[in-house]
Symmetry: C2
Subunit: 361 residues, 2 copies
Amino acid sequence: MEYTLLAPGPTPLPPSVSEILARPMIHHRTETFSKAFYSCIEKLKKVYRTETSDVLMVTASGSGGMEAAVVNLLSPGDKALVCVTGVFGDRFVKLLRAYGLDPIVISTELGRALDPDKLKNQLLMFPDVKAVFLQHTDTSTGIVNDVKTIANVIRDNSDALIVIDAISGLAAEELQTDAWDLDVVVAGSQKGLMAPPGLAFFCISPNAWKAVDEARLPRFYFDWKALRFAAEKGQTPYTPAVNVVFAQEEALRLITAEGIENVWKRTSELASFARAEVKKRGWNLFAKDPANILTGIVMPEGTDSQAVVSAILAEDNISIAGGQASLAGKIVRLAHMGYIQKADVERGFSALEKRISITTT
Amino acid sequence: MEYTLLAPGPTPLPPSVSEILARPMIHHRTETFSKAFYSCIEKLKKVYRTETSDVLMVTASGSGGMEAAVVNLLSPGDKALVCVTGVFGDRFVKLLRAYGLDPIVISTELGRALDPDKLKNQLLMFPDVKAVFLQHTDTSTGIVNDVKTIANVIRDNSDALIVIDAISGLAAEELQTDAWDLDVVVAGSQKGLMAPPGLAFFCISPNAWKAVDEARLPRFYFDWKALRFAAEKGQTPYTPAVNVVFAQEEALRLITAEGIENVWKRTSELASFARAEVKKRGWNLFAKDPANILTGIVMPEGTDSQAVVSAILAEDNISIAGGQASLAGKIVRLAHMGYIQKADVERGFSALEKRISITTT
């Protein structure tokens, strides 16, 4: 039975992307590499919907990218506000604390997007907030935040930088870096961007660069100025994940050839289909503000979601995901972003239906 | 003309390693991934020559691995000693300064290995040194340090931790973690380990773990305790470079099947051949204490080494490297580690001979 990958990252690779991974290794201090590097940056700008921000890359997991956003923007004693809609908001909290900062935290009920009014109240209460950290989509709960409205609320009520973790949302859900006036948008190669894991990306506004000049948290590997200095020559400061860069270039070629609005539309349609599949079986969606990247489904009383995930992998050769942290055992998550096809999602639902009926009878 | 990769990292991939890179992506929170993860760790222990140290991995360039060694071992105000034999020793100095530390620096003449007596004097002068940072091999100058003797000198004269950057030396030059009593050995996937760039490795002694407990420099993504906690379940805390892990497993299978002593011997023989090729053409080796991983060759007066490197790439489709930092323009570097074959090295020398005679007449 062929393997079907429906976990929320890494996502399946298009065949032409896989093929490029197997090409012979080349030296990165060459024009051939720089050409692929520039091509990635140019195409990523289209995906980020920016003309005014810089795009940079570093070899790391998405969480390394989140750390970079923290250390390049803040100084000891700075006030930061973190909007927690699941595990990944918590990650920003842990990150800030690891660097000695004491963030203000706004938590939503799990499965809910951030309430912009709640954020407004906090911004008015703490006028000296230096940066707001927020997920575009949170894969742990399957929600999408209304980043456009939230960014407006921040601009109208604060001088804070707007830092968006779009690791799982970029190239899947609508995101407009320039039009929504976002300062920093972090992304990763392995979700909507359809490349293997190994690269984190940053989109950095002129406004954010001013903050970088003043930021005093220690940094070396993740230092954006060093990354920018090398990027001007089509290079990275340290040996990058060379074949992931070439794979990413090909994946971005596919994405920009399709057109980013079409990618959003396709992902949205597949998400609607997935939600209808949930509804028609009488199951419940976990998210009240569901994202298009994945669907979280509440398990029937008495069914351990992790057992369902394990059984589906063992019996059907399909990877879906269970719940994280406090949701462990309670929900399953089935992704439909990037190169995931409708037929894959259908296969996932069939397996899920079979497994749940076995487990609950 | 087929491309020949003789730059000192990334190095060429064995065909079976390339092939694995093109396999379909899988989810990392699975037994299949954990099996590959454990297999890498088990085989890396053989390559590191350790039974008592822990081996961990993180998705990053080697320089990220160097940063991890700094932030997991030290606290603000700690005294550290850096032995500088080229660009990569300088990198430790910059890293320590980025974290607010003021390292003691011992620099050797470029092309020379560290003089153990010089180190001994410094250790006696500064009895409170917490850690000594040192390259096993420095690819910028092509030297190899006598790590065995140096580690003895450190143990006999200090309580300092012994931190070795073996990013370019591991699985190429002899290194004995247990027998030489090394505390931390950093490595990278893309040199002697014959996998694509993207993973950094650490070998951490029980003695080093005690220091980790006390170390107060800030860290999150590179935190060894988080890496160890996940590693106990065959996992990484954050989405790893999945297909690099599978590629690394295959490369390690090849290395351990050959036997690490045989790998050292083969690399040493190829290095002897390369040095003889230099000598028979009347050229000069740059390193007075040459490593087996690569050969640095001094260019004749009036020949710009970068022009030679560019011409050989353009005309012969061979990647060699020029000099870094103060050696830019002065030397070329030709690697012979990992999967580089004798025929590749021969091709490199033929091209070099042709190019140098053109440039100097």
